[in-house]
Symmetry: C2
Subunit: 327 residues, 2 copies
């Protein structure tokens, strides 16, 4: 049996999908989550598996984190405050949960002698880059959100640990991820609002913002492809490394497109009310589109289009209305 | 009388030189320092000035920081752990003092309604870039030191505050700074070692590393040039901005050159013992050379060569041997 994968944020959207995927592959998983946004329901299948262990804890609690991590072979660090939009309302949250939290994960790994890490970063680290589609080595950007800043800081810490302590780091810059267990972001917001009032839909901005999405299935295919190609002593040696990959599709859509697909699945024709302006909130980026040549060069490619991802997400939300209820 | 400039790290090498410079210009200065590495002696002249106020405090103490900052017009944030070499021995120090510390400064500013900030960042944020001389918009680098990571995170936070809260940010990526009150770095280490044993000098690495330096006088000229050209309501408006400038000379030297200049000033001919390898320590960068076209386009240029800077620094250290003594 392979040594365990430790997943932070294991009860979250992407983390719980990863847990299920690894367990289905016969792997052993230790899931760690503080359930601040994670859902017990997302681990309902995992906790019935003999090779899954769930530990309730906060990544900022370094002692508990270290104890839980002991004996694992690798860490996939997905725990984060993923709420890019409301950063300015509580400016310390991203710093604590995404930057300090990543530091605690790195220190726990160092204490446990674990050097293999995967990290969920974000295309938001590119700020409002002038290079679109944006490659991993885009010109050094200016940060426009506390979320992007906190994730860039997390990347920087991980890279310094790779150089200084021989960590083997895989950093993934995600576009927005869609799919089963999706619980925040624009598709979620639109579906919730349409559930409350099917006749009117308020859209932040003017509806022309261009965004990229990727399904959680394709996202995890990419993460596991990278791990498969960068693991094993012969391949990686004793020296640390930092590999950075954009994850996204080769397309983007407008918010208006997405609204149309959502309404079609729900069978609704609401009046669209736009708040106006080319961005939904301060620090919102009106055009996100990542260059994914690098991850594609490893043989990965997405199986689903953005439209398929949006439609599947709406279908899942429709079948799981409980996720809209406060816990 | 102009409203006060608040200097964090005011008792440090660069901070105390800035305080003296502003006071000589007739400006009002509030200096803030926890004296962890700052020296009271460096403020001996400043504290005799009526327009100078010294507040002893830690930047991590947000309450004290906010109280001290009240009523100031702008903040020049120089307080930092500037010890790039020993980061791996205490990995949380850079994060706390440089990243968290910068966050506390930003929050104190927000509480006081101050939006103008200057920040001492570092050429270390470029890691081991492939583009030399390195411009501000170099390809996104991989961090190689906890120091560089912590400063990049500080930059990122400041930029997010510029976007989100309308801060007017000037970020300076320094090469190593030389001159009076210089108290850490290779010239300091070499002079200290030669004071202890004038016959043998141990040099980290193989002596061929290429490094850039700038004098503190030229550095402060540049900082004040940028502030002069980016201040005042008509010029800057209500919207925030982030301006990033490399600061350095248009030359570099080898460690061996520098050793020669130091020994010549001291009248010594020690045997050089090299520890070997192309870098002095893990995360050391064997070639640092910044492109300074951007700051030069504002009319600034350095007045001193690297050699002059090294020689002046050695002369100052020779005249101030007390800085080698533990406090």
């Amino acid at each position: 049996m392979k040594a365990a994968t430790f997943i932070t944020g294991a009860a979250g959207f992407i983390g719980s999908n990863l847990a299920d995927r690894l367990l289905a592959n016969g792997e052993t998983v230790v899931g760690y989550d503080n359930f601040s946004t994670g859902r017990e329901e997302f681990l309902a299948a995992a906790i019935r598996q003999p090779h899954f262990r769930l530990v309730r804890g906060d990544i900022l609690d370094e002692k508990a984190l270290t104890a839980a991590m002991e004996g694992c072979a690798r860490v996939i660090h997905f725990a984060a405050n993923a709420d890019v939009r409301f950063g300015l309302e509580h400016p310390e949250r991203d710093l604590q949960q995404n930057t300090l939290g990543t530091f605690r994960v790195l220190e726990a790994m160092r204490a446990c002698g674990i050097r293999d890490i995967g990290f969920a970063s974000t295309g938001s680290v590119y700020g409002e880059t002038s290079v679109i589609p944006t490659p991993e080595d885009a010109p050094m950007p200016v940060q426009t959100s506390l979320y992007g800043a906190s994730k860039l800081a997390g990347e920087a810490l991980i890279s310094a640990y790779a150089e200084g302590y021989g960590f083997r780091a895989r950093i993934f810059r995600f576009v927005s991820i869609l799919g089963p267990r999706y619980t925040h972001g624009h598709v979620f917001d639109f579906c919730r609002k349409l559930g409350e009032n099917p006749k009117v839909l308020q859209v932040l901005g003017d509806g022309t913002a261009r965004k990229s999405y990727l399904t959680v299935e394709d996202c995890l295919d990419a993460v596991l492809t990278v791990f498969a190609q960068t693991s094993g002593g012969e391949k990686t040696g004793a020296k640390g490394f930092t590999r950075i990959y954009n994850l996204g599709t080769d397309e983007y859509c407008q918010v208006n497109d997405s609204v149309g697909w959502i309404c079609a699945v729900l069978g609704l024709k609401p009046e669209r009310q736009f708040t106006g302006g080319d961005r939904g909130w301060i620090g919102d980026n009106p055009f996100i589109f990542l260059d994914t040549k690098k991850i594609r060069s490893l043989g990965w490619k997405p199986r689903f289009t953005i439209r398929q991802g949006v439609e599947a997400t709406v279908a899942w939300l429709k079948a799981n209305p409980w996720v809209f209820s406060p816990r």
